[in-house]
């Protein structure tokens, strides 16, 4: 990335629920075109952090910089307008409607005839076909209802829709929990494609293999703090598990292959 400024930068993000400190000062960043895997045990604070980024919760303290500007999202809609969205597998699709209707949901192309907005189906189908082709997603017919499509295809529609409408940072919460082996493989490939188009991706997952397969960097949250922030090619699953469970912190920093460092990990190191 030539852009030195990260897409998203969190600075001492904390969140209390009454006396309980769910997050105790999270510092992390996501670059454009980077896939970041967010790991942590149950109750580590992952969900709270994701909600704060996506506008579902407000931090008790700390600063969030997105796209170079300080942000404080009051609602998910505000975050969405800024280009941050959580992509779910099913929650955001109407399975009783076709791919085109879902892709354009709420943003239909219309032309006024006698003052009445009329849907321009051909124009919309062409846009969807192009967006799908650019993303390398193949769906048999854009006019089939989503209920006839597989879980992976549904996720592809959601992701492509997000990218098409100007999304900049996408949060995927356990994206492959319900998918089979082959679908998961395709899903991981799709995430790489999305990232290749300059979009920041945060994947929340439990499965170590997936994290290593798809992520450029792994951030581990433990007891409301960042317990590790490492490039995935500079660590091992064993080291990450230690970070999650709170064993020794060997291998928790970018202490190997120092020659291959880029500026991003340099700043990372400086902070630690």
């Amino acid at each position: 990335m030539t852009d030195a400024q990260p897409l998203l930068k969190l600075d001492g993000i904390a969140r209390n629920f009454g006396a309980i400190e769910a997050l105790r000062g999270i510092d992390m960043h996501v670059d454009r075109g980077e896939v970041l895997a967010l790991l942590g045990d149950n109750g580590a604070g992952k969900s709270t952090l994701v909600k704060i980024i996506a506008g579902g919760l407000r931090p008790s303290a700390g600063r969030m910089l997105f796209d170079g500007a300080p942000r404080d999202f009051a609602t998910p809609a505000e975050a969405k307008a800024a280009g941050i969205e959580t992509v779910y597998q099913d929650l955001s699709l109407c399975t009783n409607a076709d791919v085109v209707a879902n892709f354009f949901m709420g943003r239909e192309i219309t032309r006024r005839v006698l003052g009445i907005p009329i849907l321009q189906e051909r124009a919309m189908e062409a846009v969807v076909a192009q967006a799908m082709a650019e993303a390398g997603t193949t769906i048999p017919s854009l006019r089939t209802n989503v209920e006839n499509l597989s879980g992976g295809q549904r996720q592809a529609i959601e992701l492509n829709r997000f990218v098409h409408w100007g999304g900049k940072l996408v949060l995927l919460d356990e994206p492959f929990a319900a998918l089979g082996v082959e679908q998961t493989r395709r899903g991981l490939a799709m995430i790489r494609q999305v990232a290749a188009r300059g979009i920041g991706v945060i994947v929340i997952t439990h499965i170590m293999a997936q994290a290593f397969a798809v992520a450029d960097r792994i951030v581990v949250i433990r007891q409301g703090r960042v317990a590790g922030d490492v490039k995935s090619n500079q660590t091992t699953p064993e080291a990450v598990i230690e970070m999650i469970t709170g064993g020794t912190l060997s291998g928790a920093g970018p202490d190997r292959d120092r020659d291959t460092h880029d500026p991003a990990s340099e700043t990372e190191e400086a902070r630690q």
Binding site: L91, S92, L93, C94, N96, A101, T110
Partner: protein, 331 residues
Amino acid sequence: MTPRRRALIEFILDNLVWLMLIVVLIVFSLTVPRFFQFGIFANIFEQSTFVGVMAIGLAIVIISGNLDLSVESTAALSAMVTGLLFATQGIGMGITLGADWLLIPVSLAIALLVGTAIGLINGFLVIRVGMSAFIVTLASFIWVRGLVVAISGGRSAQSLPPAIRVIGIETVLGIPLLAWISVGCFVVFSVLMARTPFGRYVILVGGNPNATFRAGINNDRILWAGFAIAGCLAGLAGWLLAIRTSGATANLGTGMLFNAFAAVVIGGVSLKGGIGRLPGVYAGVLLLYSIHTAINLMGLPAHFTQMILGGLVLAAVLLDTLKLRLRERLL
């Protein structure tokens, strides 16, 4: 399977009810004496007007994921208000406006307002208060009918002035004006449902309100509009019914709800919401009244009609399940 064949099968499955209508009409024409004449077909058209207009609104509410059991009583209230204000005999007040031509627009506007008001009351209780649509509209079904009896004292209004009755008497191209009105309503609302963002949103909200909410669509506005349209069209049906019968009785229109529901279900609308098209509903209405007419012509006692229609509704639901399985297998 080639895309063309697939498209053809899709098309047939989507329009199965029209196919059924054609088959039924051919069978009746061949087997029922005196069925195959222009007058009979015109009559089927005319008879299906009232339930047809009502079924449009009902279908839209059901597609949006709600339910409106009150349409029959709402139509009766509109009819009674029309009769009460403008009929010249019985309890009719025989209000005359300055000019005769004003009678139609004024009485129509009043009927539509009455219907829409009931629809909005239903909408308020379901959407704002958050009560179940089934209970709210069942209650409306009862209290609105009660209101009809109350304002009429159980008596009837007769003899609407000729200036209004034109609507019920006039024919265009040999087909009653009433039939044209229902065809016109179906065309207008079919375009609204299939070709405008509003219609698209009704289907999407009926399918997954979470998704539309996340996409920034104002779900409540769509649901409000659904109830308002159902009430408004029920009001129109009541107005037409009052004109056709030249007045109103306290029990006018009883049994229409069942017919409207049957037509909607036969027409391929899923009670779960999100699925259904208005042209199919119109075919359902025509199918229903073709069967009514054939039973009349055959001289069967009227109580057989209900059994046959009940069976037809079951068959329609069964067919829907069958269609789903066929689709899974073939596509």
